[in-house]
């Protein structure tokens, strides 16, 4: 379609050489919502890694906050074409969370409060590439953005950074999560523009 609407430019979008292909910069932090925002009290919160043997490694909020905490500054890229540069987070590295986890399996499914799921290969979570983040821009993560805690896997499209995360389940195969079942790419590398199947 070559139709152009006179005088319409859309909300501020800016190209920048530091951005992956097809992305533009935004100032605000758009919210992608696939459902109601779950209201999770940190008193009821837990994060659990479950392996093939049925072993569960679980942390409640206090235990989680007692783990080594890292400050992370990173760019984020949403599949809906917006990016933000130099965003600031605090969270626990997945390397820390996996330190005592014994698994032979190579894939994980992230599960969230509210039912959302997304699949991430274990390789993409380890070696300083991913966190469970509970602060954004110096403030506790707001429920709209996934608080109390969300996955942060900034080298993949942001739908992989599951909001309201409650755990990871080890999987033998790379099975699709919520968006991946409906057209989105299994891995989602923004530099390769892995948006859809």
């Amino acid at each position: 379609m070559s139709f152009i609407t006179r005088g319409f430019t859309g909300r501020g979008r800016e190209r920048d050489d530091r951005l992956p292909p097809g992305q533009t910069l935004v100032g605000d932090f758009p919210v992608l919502s696939a459902g109601p925002t779950p209201d999770i009290d940190t008193a009821d919160w837990a994060f659990t890694i479950r392996t093939e043997s049925g072993t569960e490694h679980s942390w409640n909020w206090d235990e989680f906050m007692a783990l080594p905490i890292e400050d992370v500054t990173t760019d984020i890229h949403c599949v809906t074409h917006w990016s933000k540069l130099g965003t600031g987070w605090r969270g626990v590295s997945l390397d820390t969370l996996f330190a005592d986890v014994d698994t032979e399996l190579e894939y994980t499914m992230a599960h969230s409060y509210g039912g959302y799921t997304t699949n991430v290969p274990l390789d993409d979570l380890l070696d300083g590439k991913a966190w469970v983040a509970f602060e954004y821009d110096g403030e506790p993560l707001d429920p709209e953005h996934g608080g109390p805690a969300r996955l942060l896997v900034p080298h993949l499209y942001f739908w992989k950074s599951a909001k309201w995360v409650r755990g990871l389940e080890m999987m033998a195969d790379d099975e699709p999560g919520f968006w991946e079942q409906n057209g989105y790419h299994l891995r989602g590398d923004p530099w390769k523009e892995e948006r859809y199947w």
Binding site: M1, F3, I4, T5, R6, F8, T9, G10
Partner: protein
């Protein structure tokens, strides 16, 4: 559903725009190939930027019936992407891509067609009055005997949409009663202080549940949610209530 005009993508030319309220614009479109529409339907507007970026939003249609003239009324959300363009930038002669007419659920047809003589209660918050105006207008045009009542919540007297049309509709032979609620400022000498609609005000101004009215509620999602919950508490059958949420809180 039989007899529904088929939706399609059309190019619309803006015939005229005019200030509807200090914060809203009425847009009259001539839509090439428009099949006509039912009262209460909407269309989707797609705007395309020079770099190919597109934004699509839904707008209710204030007009109904045959012909290629389609009337919209759009409220400006200050930080919105599409509504400020439609309200402040669009002018006569501009062309828009529209998809419609859409929706066969939130519509009203004359009693002569539906054989349903039950009264109709319309409830609007702000720009949510647009499809209900189409219904009230179609009701008057058909000289339909169904009792209509409209409860309309607006910020101030200046924010009433279709202000010059309501009196004529109320004076038409088709029975229509209009009740206004002002949330920020009332006209001088108004009996109630400004404030959000309450459950009691709703009960007092709406056709009682015992008469089994068909109810159409339209406005921001928060408004519709509150009103729909109260209607059920007041004894209205959920299946008699039809809602059109516009988004927002």
């Amino acid at each position: 559903m039989s007899g529904m005009p088929r939706p399609g993508w059309h190019v619309a030319t803006v015939a005229a725009t005019r200030r509807e309220t200090p914060n809203a614009t009425r847009i009259e479109l001539d839509v090439d190939g428009w099949p006509g529409n039912e009262a209460g339907q909407h269309l989707d507007v797609r705007l395309t930027a020079p770099d190919g970026y597109t934004a699509t939003r839904s707008y209710s249609i204030a007009s109904s019936g045959e012909g290629s003239r389609v009337v919209l009324a759009v409220d400006k959300l200050p930080d919105g992407e599409v509504s400020p363009y439609l309200v402040d930038e669009l002018r006569a002669g501009d062309r828009l891509e529209v998809h419609g007419p859409l929706g066969a659920f939130f519509i009203w047809r004359p009693a002569a067609v539906t054989d349903d003589a039950r009264p109709v209660q319309l409830i609007a918050g702000g720009s949510g009055v647009v499809p209900l105006f189409a219904m009230a207008h179609a009701h008057a045009a058909a000289a339909d005997p169904t009792p209509f009542r409209l409860l309309y919540s607006v910020r101030t007297p200046d924010d009433v949409y279709f202000a010059s049309e309501w009196a004529a509709l109320a004076a038409a032979s088709a029975p229509l009663r209009l009740d206004l609620v002002y949330t920020r400022r009332t006209p001088d000498g108004w009996s109630a202080p400004p404030g959000r609609i309450t459950r009691d005000a709703l009960e007092a101004a709406a056709v009682p549940a015992a008469e089994r009215p068909r109810v159409f509620v339209c406005g921001s999602t928060g408004f519709v949610e509150r009103v729909a919950d109260w209607l059920v508490e007041l004894g209205h059958e959920p299946r008699d209530i039809r809602t059109e949420r516009y988004g927002g809180t």
